[in-house]
């Protein structure tokens, strides 16, 4: 049973990573910085519990806040550029973060053992969960509690004026600006929110694997981060979850028995999925059964200007 709980843990942390990119993608921006934010969250939360002995919950919240502040600072200059230039700028930021942790050595003595980031050799002994008596299912429940809180928050935001503003900027920046929206504030806000979610995800990730190193937070992870919401569809937060289940559950875990063929099929099946469902597995709209349940006022949607 622990194996399935372990899988659910992977789904959970990857869902947070995907949702961090989802928020930014709503504004039409493609950010490759999410792996960098994830790394900042991982190292910060890891330092919180392993080096300073604080509880996991404040540790991941602090990690989220620290990452959000950095995302906000990065967002101002980075979001002045668009399209491919933004991809390059955020990619460069992600690599900068990775190389920072590649060179960071900062260890403290905890019970006669040096604990903390040790350059390229990584950060070992982030063992909060087993050392505090958490069973595997406890960890899984904790992760999914965080994921559900984040999903509900994003779902709620999506149904408010703030969500409509995000989508408005994503649909047509010029039109959005012409109705008085502050593009920089919206984009930086989305980047900050995405940073917070990535920080939470990274913080939890560090504790599920107990050892982190710079190499994990590379371009591949950044690609996965934006692949989840794009593959799942930007209509709602559920698209990201479906994409995580498809990639992590089916392509990676389900096809493990195929050995070498798995990597080949991995790419082919993603291409196939994108061709069959070009707007994502769940499309650009929220699942119908969710929309039917909505009573009262209709969700705010921006109609494209003719």
């Amino acid at each position: 049973m622990d194996f399935y709980f372990g899988l659910l843990q992977i789904f959970g942390v990857h869902t947070l990573l995907g949702l961090s990119a989802y928020v930014v993608l709503l504004t039409g921006q493609v950010s490759m910085a999410q792996a960098g934010f994830y790394a900042i969250g991982a190292y910060t939360a890891g330092a919180g519990t392993a080096m300073f002995g604080i509880h996991i919950l404040p540790a991941i919240i602090v990690a989220g806040l620290v990452t959000a502040v950095i995302a906000c600072i990065v967002g101002f200059p980075a979001l002045r550029v668009k399209g491919l230039m933004l991809v390059v700028a955020t990619l460069a930021f992600g690599e900068m973060v990775r190389l920072f942790f590649f060179n960071l050595t900062w260890q403290v003595d905890r019970g006669g053992e040096l604990v903390g980031p040790n350059g390229a050799e990584g950060f070992r002994s982030i063992r909060y969960f087993p050392e505090h008596g958490w069973e595997v299912w406890h960890v899984t429940a904790f992760i999914w509690a965080v994921v559900i809180v984040v999903m509900v928050a994003l779902w709620w935001v999506d149904r408010t004026r703030a969500g409509a503003v995000l989508r408005a900027v994503g649909h047509d920046e010029t039109a959005a600006q012409s109705i008085g929206l502050n593009l920089t504030a919206v984009k930086v806000g989305a980047m900050t929110a995405g940073g917070f979610i990535a920080g939470l995800g990274g913080g939890i990730y560090a504790h599920t694997v107990t050892h982190i190193e710079h190499g994990v937070f590379g371009v591949l992870l950044a690609t996965f981060a934006i692949a989840y919401p794009i593959l799942g569809g930007l209509g709602s937060v559920f698209g990201t979850v479906i994409a995580v289940l498809f990639i992590q559950g089916f392509l990676i875990e389900g096809l493990r028995f195929l050995g070498d063929w798995r990597s080949l099929l991995f790419g082919a099946l993603i291409v196939l999925a994108m061709n069959l469902r070009p707007t994502g597995l769940l499309g650009e709209h929220a699942p119908r059964w969710f929309r039917r349940r909505k009573t009262g006022s209709e969700p705010l949607e921006l109609k494209e200007a003719n």
Binding site: G133, R256, G259
Partner: protein, 399 residues
């Protein structure tokens, strides 16, 4: 007459029972599972380990299998899981293995998988406050120093690089008295190669009086080494030590040949004493000296190499450890008296762990391996150098 019938019936019943017991014993199996990187850049290591394990268990089964606590025999079943050298996948694979009836796992390949993987295991046996996974892991390939100390459920049969390189540089000092300076090249983003250069090779070289005149760094995916080689050429070192895996070792060696860099001594990383280096750059690698815990220098090692080759793999210092692990586990299981039933699975795993922990020596392909209290091993080794299309022993410190 009645008595005779009863005796006959009793004999027939006993014979039938004995026959059915024998048939039942022959059907008994235990599972020992391997895992590691069998795809991707370092996939060849996992493929060789998988082949070595498969060949070793086939040999054990052909010799009668293992003996259970009740004296019956059981065959060993095995399979190999691919973790693609990815930490998350490695953890997932181990959890999957632990959720089956497997008694013990052999793996992983990559040190960057081993380190987080060992972290999810219970650190101290019988520590009720630690809810880490309680499952024995016997590592064959991941060689970065000091990893077994992370958990008491972890045992490694990887050689001690610190000891090997210390002896190697002492031997170079003695054999090449004119060599004074050394230049290091390191594959910077791979845990094993980086650790080995900065914490092992460099320390050993300086301890034996070599002056470090420069260092060059590159990454696992790099394909251009001209800048690094240029720096090396300018320094004119007597000894060049390359701490990199076969793929970039070959790239660097080719660039060194192109720039006509010819040190008196060329030293390589343990993992490069493999077929991949020879098939990738045999000409450029001529003379490179590497310490290794496997070479086909005796009949047993030669037979093992042939058996693994028949399975489509190659025996090198890593896959030889997988072979040895299989043999060591056979002996441990035979001595531990495991039941091999679903009800005793947890107890059987614990007996295997305790059996491995109790070992002070174990039989290896090159001789006796010392088993250390922290779960590590100190194995016999030789120095080999590339000659033609083969690795030849240039010095045997044990002889």
């Amino acid at each position: 007459m009645k008595l005779k019938s009863l005796i006959t019936a009793g004999m027939i019943s006993a014979s039938a029972l004995a026959l059915s017991s024998a048939a039942f014993a022959a059907d008994k199996t235990v599972r020992i599972v391997g895992f590691g990187a069998s795809s991707g850049v370092v996939g060849i290591f996992g493929q060789n380990s998988g082949a070595a394990m498969s060949a070793a268990f086939e040999k054990i089964n052909a010799e009668g299998g293992i003996t259970l606590a009740d004296g019956s025999k059981a065959m060993i079943e095995t399979e190999y899981y691919d973790d693609r050298c990815n930490a998350e996948e490695g953890i997932s694979v181990l959890r999957r293995i632990a959720s089956t009836d497997a008694l013990v796992a052999i793996g992983p390949t990559c040190s960057n998988v081993a380190e987080p993987l060992f972290g999810i295991l219970q650190a101290k046996v019988d520590d009720a406050g630690d809810t880490g996974l309680q499952f024995p892991v016997f590592t064959d390939v991941a060689i970065k120093g000091g990893l077994a100390g992370i958990s008491e459920w972890v045992f490694r049969n990887t050689p001690s690089e610190a000891k090997m390189y210390d002896d190697l540089f002492a031997w170079i000092r003695e054999t090449y008295p004119d060599a004074k300076t050394i230049y290091g090249g390191v594959e910077e983003d791979f845990a094993h190669s980086r650790f080995t250069w900065y914490s092992v090779m460099k320390t050993a070289a300086e301890a034996h009086g070599f002056e470090l005149v420069g260092e060059a760094q590159w990454l696992l995916n790099d394909t251009n080494f001209s800048n690094q080689a240029r720096g090396m050429r300018r320094a004119e070192p007597d000894v060049v030590a390359i701490s990199a895996h076969p793929f970039t070792s070959c790239g660097m060696l080719r660039e060194m040949a192109r720039q006509k860099i010819q040190p008196k001594v060329l030293v390589g990383l343990t993992s490069s004493s493999s077929l991949e280096t020879l098939s990738g750059c045999a000409n450029e690698a001529q003379g490179i000296i590497i310490p290794t815990s496997f070479a086909p220098v005796n009949d047993e090692a030669k037979a093992a190499a042939e058996a693994v080759a028949a399975k489509g793999g190659a025996l090198d210092l890593h896959s030889a450890a997988a072979w040895e692990n299989a043999m060591i586990l056979r002996d441990v299981i035979n001595a531990a008296g495991i039941e091999g039933t679903p009800d005793t699975l947890e107890a059987d795993r614990r007996k295997i762990r305790d059996g491995l922990a109790a070992l002070t020596t174990a039989h290896g392909l090159l001789g006796e391996n010392k088993r250390m209290p922290d779960g590590e091993a100190v194995k016999p080794y030789v120095f080999v150098h590339a000659q033609g299309n083969a690795w030849e022993v240039v010095h045997n410190p044990g002889s």
